[in-house]
């Protein structure tokens, strides 16, 4: 069995990538593309933090040289022939995806709201303090207030995403007004525009002092590869 890390825009035979602590990583070619594979050693695919980091490290290294379609952690194939078969059966899809992602990287942006300790956003009423109608009215009022806050947070998330969307090639946002993280977005940007995009995020953050922004990446374009194949 061999482990498959990704599909790349490379058709050179037996190109090796050396990374400490890994079996030799090579490219199995098929036409204009190749599958990046390595032999599996016992424990390589164990669900351990160390293995996740190693897997990520391989993909980061690959993305320095190639356009990469990352393959999900733990994907294995029988042998080199099975890799060629996978590449052949999905050749057009892989080539199209690689061409669409050429020269682009993913930047992660998380936007969080502060949940105040004072309970300004959510302050449960003690049942013992109120009774009957007053208690029900109070709960309804709280629910309404919370709903408005969630709605506002959702709108904020959508508003920020809309700006970032304009500054990127594509986006993959999750907007949740009812969560602490109101926007969890992945943005596809040209590799040469990473600094510009990050600056844009920072400029936007100045307009929203009550929100916390977290930027990560550049990543290989994990969020922009959605290919399921057999």
């Amino acid at each position: 069995m061999i482990c498959v890390y990704g599909i790349v825009n490379n058709n050179r035979n037996c190109e090796f990538i050396e990374l400490p602590g890994r079996n030799a990583i090579r490219i199995v070619p098929r036409g204009e593309i190749g599958g990046v594979v390595s032999e599996i050693s016992p424990g390589d695919l164990e669900m351990r933090e160390n293995n996740f980091w190693k897997y990520h490290e391989v993909l980061l290294k690959l993305s320095e040289y190639y356009t990469v379609l990352p393959v999900r952690f733990g994907t294995t194939l029988r042998d080199t022939e099975a890799v060629r078969e996978l590449l052949s059966c999905n050749y057009e899809r892989f080539v199209t995806a690689i061409n669409n992602l050429k020269g682009k990287v993913e930047i992660g942006v998380k936007v969080m709201r502060y949940i105040k300790e004072s309970g300004e956003e959510y302050c449960p009423v003690q049942k013992s303090e109120l009774t009957g109608k007053a208690y029900i009215m109070s709960r309804l009022q709280q629910k309404r207030k919370k709903s408005i806050q969630q709605n506002d947070a959702g709108n904020l998330g959508a508003e920020i995403n809309s700006i970032l969307n304009r500054e990127s090639e594509r986006s993959n946002p999750v907007i949740r007004g009812d969560k602490k993280i109101i926007l969890n977005g992945a943005y596809l940007v040209n590799a040469g525009h990473v600094d510009y995009f990050k600056k844009c995020v920072k400029e936007i953050a100045l307009r929203y002092p009550d929100l916390k922004f977290l930027i990560s990446g550049p990543w290989p374009p994990y969020n922009f590869v959605s290919i399921k194949c057999s």
Binding site: P70, R72, G74, T75, T76, L214, I215, S216, G217, C229
Partner: protein, 63 residues
């Protein structure tokens, strides 16, 4: 100047997991992972591991 912005110089495990387990090319039927030295071989599954809340959000049933 940008007091409410943090740029992660070192990515967190959560960020990595969110991507390597949940995104990318999915090859049906060829996922092998192991837990505590026991190899688990899954055949015909597309989804093996993801955060429980994601599973609920996606509306899929827990198997």
């Amino acid at each position: 100047m940008y007091e409410n912005v943090s740029e992660l110089k070192r990515v967190t495990l959560a960020e990595v997991l969110d991507r390597i387990l949940d995104k990318g090319v999915v090859v049906k039927g060829d996922l092998v992972i192991s837990v505590a030295d026991v190899d688990l071989i899954y055949i015909g599954l597309q989804l093996v591991i993801c955060a429980a809340d994601k599973l609920y959000e996606s509306g899929e049933d827990l198997v």
